[in-house]
């Protein structure tokens, strides 16, 4: 049982890391601010969710697991707000959307 | 070469980098940032010393770690004061240069300007 939980953790965390990698590739390769913010928000939040799900079997107790899920929800809230603010600033800041 | 020693050597490099940035950067805000980099390197050395003092069922010597918490907070207060000084210098003289000859303070802006 322990081994199955550990394998689940490893698979989920590696999948989460892959999504983080995909988000970073999007950050580096996409042409302007809007597409970059889109890639980062979507991929990074999914990556964090997979990491959190993967770590849940390693927690001892329901309360610790709930705290981990709370962390994920807070990050979702904060990153959604921040990406909206960045997109709004980029739209105001110039029609090039921050191409660099 | 174990983890504490490796981090200790990394801390030495960080102190060197911070010192270089402190001496070379002309902009005062960059100096404050380099000072923070150097300060964090020094704190890392203290944490390495704390880790090596592990014993009696604890992962590290708690006395240096408690002093590190104090140090982090005081370093932030010092950075805040430094940044306030740089911003005030900018507001008064229009430039953040430490080497320009003392400019006459600009006439105070009217109340509606901030």
């Amino acid at each position: 049982m322990r081994a199955i939980l550990d394998i689940f953790t490893i698979v989920a965390v590696v999948a989460g890391a892959f999504f983080f990698l995909a988000g970073t590739v999007g950050l580096l390769r996409f042409p302007d601010t809007f597409t970059r913010a889109h890639a980062l928000t979507k991929a990074d939040n999914l990556g964090l969710g997979l990491v959190v799900i993967g770590l849940l079997p390693q927690m001892d107790g329901v309360m610790a697991g709930l705290k981990l899920v709370l962390v994920w929800l807070m990050v979702l809230l904060a990153s959604a707000t921040v990406s909206q603010l960045i997109a709004r600033a980029a739209r105001r800041g110039g029609s090039d959307g921050g191409k660099s | 070469m174990n983890t504490p020693t490796l981090l200790g050597l990394c801390a030495a490099v960080l102190i060197g980098l911070g010192l270089y940035g402190l001496i070379v950067s002309p902009h005062p805000l960059r100096k404050i940032m380099a000072f923070n980099v150097m300060g964090n390197g020094i704190f890392l050395v203290a944490a390495v010393i704390a880790r090596r003092g592990a014993g009696a069922g604890m992962g590290g010597d708690p006395v240096p770690q408690a002093l590190l918490i104090t140090a982090l907070v005081v370093a932030f207060a010092a950075s805040a004061l430094g940044v306030a000084l740089v911003l005030r210098l900018f507001e008064e003289t229009g430039s953040a240069s430490l080497t320009a000859p003392d400019a006459a303070p600009r006439t105070p802006p009217s109340e509606s300007e901030v």
Binding site: - | G18, I69, S97, T99
Partner: protein, 314 residues
């Protein structure tokens, strides 16, 4: 395995530190400084210093990052004149030699640290039962080295007085920061309504749990200060004028209570900040509860800066 992880961490730390020092644009350098602070959190965890890691994440990376981003944005106009003042090649080479010598010296000291390392951990374990708290760091901060914590709280207050003293005379007693222009119904306003209740619970929880697990009042106060700053930045509430009585009482209440308990201790237990044996835990709780709001207000006001406008109602 841990060594590979530490090597990766060290590589990233050095790369970010180099970026912070040599990046041409100040804003880009600040963008490198914030993840440097967050990676240092991982370094503290590698060294089993969990309380320090929380403090670094909250204050070292979080609050210092906000401070530097705000300053870098306001100082954008000084970039080009500052770059023109860069020292010549000779100075830079000399500075590099001096820095390398200092780094080598400290590296040598790290390698030559005594091998059965001296430690105060056994002494702490012997005496921790008398303090009534389970977390050794909290016991050291609030009981064995309580004088240092008192002086630290006073240093923070003095730092704030120093920041306030930089206000132009005509603005003394006014409100810090620019007038709120943010629409309170925007997305930031939404976040500033949803997050602070959760943040307040988390901040007080971190204070309370710090008695027996990693945590404590500095980390909790930083979370509370961040919530207040969010509310101010979203335009839901204006920065307080610095001559308001409640601001002064909130700032002085924490250190004042600490000093009062210390004087009480010098009368009852025979030494300044000595705790009578049975009352150690309640006194520590009283001090921490008094210090939490003071620290939160001090940290938030350190970030908003000196007063820069007069109240229009006065």
């Amino acid at each position: 395995m841990t060594l590979a992880l530490t090597l990766a961490l060290v590589g990233l730390l050095m790369a970010l530190a180099i970026w912070t020092v040599v990046a041409r644009d100040t804003f880009a350098a600040v963008t490198g400084f914030v993840p440097y602070g967050l990676l240092l959190t991982l370094a503290w965890l590698q060294l089993r210093a969990v309380d320090v890691a929380m403090t670094e994440a909250a204050i070292g990376a979080g609050l210092t990052g906000v401070l530097l981003i705000a300053a870098a944005a306001r100082l954008r106009a000084t970039e080009t004149p500052a770059w023109a003042e860069r020292p010549g090649l000779a100075t830079r080479v000399l500075a590099a030699i001096v820095s390398a010598a200092v780094a080598a010296g400290i590296g040598a000291c790290v390698l030559l640290l005594p091998d059965p390392a001296p430690s105060l951990a056994p002494a702490v374990v012997e005496n921790i039962a008398a303090t009534g708290v389970g977390n050794p760091i909290t016991a050291v901060l609030m009981s064995f080295r309580a004088m240092d914590t008192l002086l630290e709280a006073i240093v923070l207050l003095l730092g704030l007085v120093g920041v306030w003293s930089l206000a132009p005379d005509r603005f003394w007693g006014g409100r810090p920061g620019p007038a709120p222009t943010e629409d309170p119904n925007s997305i930031l306003g939404y976040l500033a309504r949803v997050l602070p209740p959760i943040g307040i619970v988390v901040g007080v929880y971190i204070l309370w749990v710090g008695a027996d697990h990693p945590g404590g009042k500095f980390q909790g106060a930083t979370v509370l200060a961040a919530m207040w700053l969010l509310v101010m930045m979203a335009g839901l509430s204006d920065a307080p004028a610095v001559d308001r009585r409640w601001v002064r009482i909130a700032l002085a209440g924490g250190p004042g209570a600490f000093i009062a308990v210390g004087l009480l201790g010098s009368v009852i237990a025979g030494a300044f900040l000595g705790y009578p044996e049975a009352f150690a835990k309640p006194l520590i709780v009283v001090i921490e509860a008094a210090l939490l709001p003071s620290l939160a207000v001090t940290l938030a006001l350190l970030l908003t800066g000196p007063p820069s406008r007069k109240d229009s109602s006065e």
